[in-house]
Symmetry: C2
């Protein structure tokens, strides 16, 4: 199962949904074609499982980078850095999630709603702890998610040797303190 | 030409690239099939022209909302509000730009690079004017673009009656002042 998902991520990432074949995936996974059908009924079903798997792994990676001792803004910094690391290692995630908009719109939407809800929960906890301004809302969560997704596209997928720690630092300073000059 | 582009935007937006036909576009535009070939050699060529047209119109709408008297942060607010308005009226823009990632990757990338450059120029002008912190960079531009794109997806395309002015205000306050509690 894991081998099929990993092979599928690479095949879909390289070729896109339409040009990927089940036999190409099983060949890449080094398993028999029959093995595929023990797990999935069709290419569509595998694709849906893959989107959910990728979505879950992004979430796990973010959670794994957090710890109870971190403040609310350090938490957002750690989550972004973890995401940029994941996207660097799994550049295919962009093509797969983005193609889900066309192949499996419900999974596409669920991925972003779930991610935004996770961020919104963290922001509200930070507000309750007095670390963040009053009025944290879904707007802030969607804004931060969009920022993270596009920084990943530019600096992890279309990367040009930029330092991901510096990228994270600049973005985190922007959401923490804002960009208005204080002088 | 304009009628063909407008009809194509609606057809591609509803059906996606693969299920859209040239005859469907000309029927929707109310023109003869032969007229299509006066302007475009193929469905791919029309799609590329449409992505560039949409990209240019988003840029024009943003520019049209700006004025020399606005400060740097008011400028970002006006640009976001203009974009949310455009996305509300042209929800098909998301499917078209997003599908360009697969159908015409060069146009997809050019659209975001052009948009980010426009934002980066504005931010550097604001820095030069002493309104924004020192060190405005492409990271800030990509972060703000990502924020704007995802707020458009959530509040213009997947809208649920939210007030776009309030959405804009919350996002603009976040990038202006940050979300760290000052108390």
């Amino acid at each position: 199962m894991r081998r099929l998902l990993d092979a599928a991520a690479l095949e879909f990432g390289e070729k896109g949904f339409h040009d990927t074949s089940i036999s190409g995936i099983t060949a890449r996974a080094g398993t028999a074609l029959g093995n595929f059908y023990n797990y999935f009924g069709s290419k569509e079903e595998l694709f849906r499982a893959l989107v959910q798997d990728m979505s879950a792994r992004v979430g796990e990676r973010a959670r794994g980078a957090l710890s109870p001792g971190l403040g609310a803004l350090e938490t957002e910094r750690a989550a972004l850095l973890a995401f940029l690391g994941f996207a660097s290692e799994h550049q295919e995630i962009y093509r797969i999630i983005d193609e889900a908009e066309f192949i499996d719109p419900a999974s596409f939407r669920l991925h972003y709603e779930t991610t935004a809800n996770r961020i919104a929960e963290r922001l509200r906890a930070g507000e309750d702890a007095g670390e963040l301004r009053r009025g944290m809302s879904d707007v802030h969560a969607w804004a931060i998610m969009g920022m993270n997704v596009f920084l990943g596209l530019r600096y992890a997928v279309w990367a040009n040797g930029e330092d991901l720690e510096q990228v994270t630092e600049a973005a985190n300073a922007m959401i923490s303190e804002g960009i208005r000059s204080k002088s």
